[in-house]
Symmetry: C2
C-alpha cells in the first residue's frame, strides 16, 4: 500500500528521480519536472500526434537485454508510430515501474540510453512517473509529435491501383528474435548478430514519414508483421492488397536464413518488429520514389499494389498464391 | 517473449480491445483507434498540459478494490494534476498491463468506470496500449488538458505575504487508507465509510483550478501530503510557508478521528491522497475567495501565509510550533 511505500522507498525514489531529471534539462516544456504537469506550446498550423506503447520484461524484451538498448527500443517503437503518421517528434513522457532488486547502476544505464537517443532524435523528456512494482520491470512511454494541420498520414486513404512500398528490409526483427532464442544456429555469427541488432534497435523512419506527408495515400509502421500491417491499410481503405513475395526486400542475412530454411518465409512475412514503413503511393508518383528514398535516407521497394476486394494475398510467383497460416500479431 | 505472446494471447487481446474501443468513440482525435497514433488539433491560443501517472495493484491500490473505482481513481489523480495547472481536460491515453488471471468481466467493469468518468468530465480515450504481464495489474495514464497560453498555474509564483488557501477538507484520504487497514476501529462505521470513499474516489478540482488562472500566484494538488506539497510551493517560490493547524479544514469524520487520537494530526498533515488544491493568493485578493469558492464548487479555507525564509512551519497555536517528524511523500 501507498502508506508502506511512503515510509520505505522515499530516499531511493529521490535517487531514481535524480537519475532521470537531467533527461528533461533541455526541454523547456518539462518545467524542470518541478510542477504537476508539462506545458507545451503547440507550433502554429500543426496538429499534435500522440502515441503510447508499453513494454514488460520477459514479454517484450529479455531481462538480460542491455538496459540502454531496452530504453532506446522503448523510445524508438513510439517514434516509429510518429513516423508512420508523418510527424516530427517533440518530446515524451515516461512511466517506469521498477522492481525492488534493480540496482541504481542499471537505471543509470537505462537513462544513458534515453539520453543518447534524445540527442539522436532531437527530443527531450517532458514528465512522467516513477513507481515501485513487485512484478517485472514495466515501462510505458507517451511520445508526442507534430505534423502539418490535417496532413497526418492515415491508414484509410489508399486507392485501387496504388503501389505498395516498404522501406529498408523486412523480416530482420523476427529473425533476430529467433537468433536470440538460438533457433538459427546454422547461420554465421556475423549474420546472427546483424539480425539481433535489428531486433534490439529499430530505426524509426522519421525522415521518410515526414517526406511522405502530402504524397503517400496511406502509411503504417511494420510492428505487427508485414501481412498484418498491410492488412490494416487494406481494411481501413476498403481494398485488398496483393504482395509479390519476390519483391519483398530482404537483408543479406535474412536471404541466407530463408534459403537454408523455407519455413522462415512465413516468419519474415508475419513476424513483426521491423519498424520499417509500409505505404501506398498513386501509380503516377512512381518516379518520386528515388527522391523519397533520398529524403528518407533509406531504400524503398515496390512490393505490390492495392486492388478492389479485401484481405492480403501474397503471390509466390505470377499467378501462384502463397498459403499463409497466420497473418501476424494484432494489438490495441 | 513477443513470439510466444503472438501465438497464445491474440484472440484474448482482441476481446480486451473490444471492451476498451468504445471509450474512444466520442473522441474524433482518437481516429477510432485505427491508426498508429492520435491526432489532436490544438485549440487556438492555448497551451497543452500533459501529465502521466502510474499505479500498481498492491502498491497504489488494493487488489480487492472495485475495478470501476480503480479506473476512476487512475483517471482522477491525473485530472487533479491538470486542475493544479488550471487546465481543462481534453483526453487521455491509457496503457494497461493485464495479469493472465484477470477475467474479462473485471476488465469490463474497469472500462465502465472509465466510461462513467469520461461523461462526468467531458473527455474521451485518445489511444494507448494493451499488454500482458506476469506481474500485478499495472496502469499508466497520460492526461492532456488545455490552458490559456502562458497562463498555466505554476508552483514558483508565490510572493511573501500571499495567503495560503486549500480547497475542501484535508487528511480524509490518508485517514481513509487507515480505515481500510482497520486501524481506525474506534470510529463509527459511517465515518469510516466516508473517509474510505474519499480515499477511493478523489474529486479533481477542475473548476476551481480553471477559476484560479490569472488569480492564484501558485497552485499544487495535495497528493504527497499537505506539508510536502506546500513545501514544493515554498521551495519553488524561494519562500517559507507558515500554516496554522487550527485553520486546516477537517471533515467531521476527520475531526472525530483526530480528537480520539492525537497522533493522527501528523497523519492528516503529511498523509497525502487528498487531491484538493493548495494555492497562494495575494492578500489584496482575499475578498475574491467567496467568488472563487462558488466558481470552484468547493469550500476554501485560508490556512496560512507565505513569508521570507525557507521550509514549512505548522503552528499549533500562536507562537507555538508543532513538531513534525516526517514531511510526507515525494515522487518524480
Amino acid at each position: 500500500m501507498a502508506g508502506t511505500e511512503r515510509n520505505t522507498a522515499r530516499g531511493e525514489f529521490a535517487l531514481i528521480d535524480g537519475i532521470l531529471k537531467p533527461l528533461a534539462a533541455g526541454t523547456p516544456a518539462a518545467l524542470g519536472l518541478t510542477d504537476d504537469a508539462a506545458v507545451l506550446t503547440p507550433a502554429k498550423g500543426k496538429d499534435l500526434v500522440l502515441t503510447k506503447d508499453a513494454m514488460v520484461a520477459g514479454v517484450h524484451f529479455r531481462e538480460s537485454d542491455m538496459p540502454g538498448d531496452i530504453a532506446r527500443k522503448l523510445l524508438r517503437v513510439n517514434l516509429s508510430d510518429l513516423a508512420a503518421m508523418g510527424a516530427e517528434p517533440v518530446g515524451y513522457l515516461l512511466a517506469t515501474f521498477w522492481p525492488e532488486a534493480l540496482p541504481l547502476s542499471w537505471i543509470q544505464e537505462f537513462a544513458d540510453g534515453l539520453g543518447q537517443d534524445q540527442e539522436e532524435f532531437g527530443i527531450g523528456l517532458l514528465g512522467g512517473d516513477t513507481v515501485r512494482t513487485p512484478g517485472p520491470l514495466s515501462l510505458s512511454l507517451t511520445a508526442i509529435g507534430e505534423v502539418a494541420k490535417e496532413k497526418a498520414l492515415r491508414r484509410n486513404g489508399a486507392g485501387a491501383g496504388d503501389l505498395i512500398v516498404v522501406s529498408g528490409t523486412i523480416g530482420d526483427g523476427a529473425l533476430g528474435l529467433l537468433a536470440l532464442q538460438e533457433e538459427l544456429a546454422d547461420l554465421d555469427p556475423t549474420e546472427q548478430e546483424y539480425l539481433e541488432d535489428r531486433y534490439h534497435l529499430p530505426n524509426p523512419r522519421l525522415s521518410l514519414g515526414q517526406a511522405l506527408v502530402g504524397r503517400a495515400t496511406s502509411c503504417i509502421d511494420i510492428s505487427d508483421g508485414l501481412i498484418a500491417d498491410i492488412g490494416h491499410i487494406a481494411e481501413e481503405s476498403g481494398l485488398a492488397a496483393v504482395i509479390q513475395w519476390k519483391k519483398v526486400p530482404l537483408s543479406d542475412a535474412a536471404k541466407i536464413a530463408v534459403e537454408s530454411d523455407d519455413a522462415l518465409v512465413e516468419r519474415v512475412l508475419t513476424g513483426g518488429d521491423d519498424y520499417e514503413l509500409a505505404f501506398t503511393l498513386p501509380l503516377d508518383q512512381r518516379d518520386d520514389l528515388v527522391k523519397l528514398a533520398k529524403e528518407g535516407g533509406v531504400s524503398l521497394a515496390i512490393i505490390g499494389e492495392m486492388v478492389e476486394g479485401e484481405g492480403v494475398r501474397v503471390m509466390q510467383e505470377e499467378g501462384v498464391e502463397m498459403p499463409i497460416s497466420s497473418s501476424g500479431w494484432q494489438h490495441f
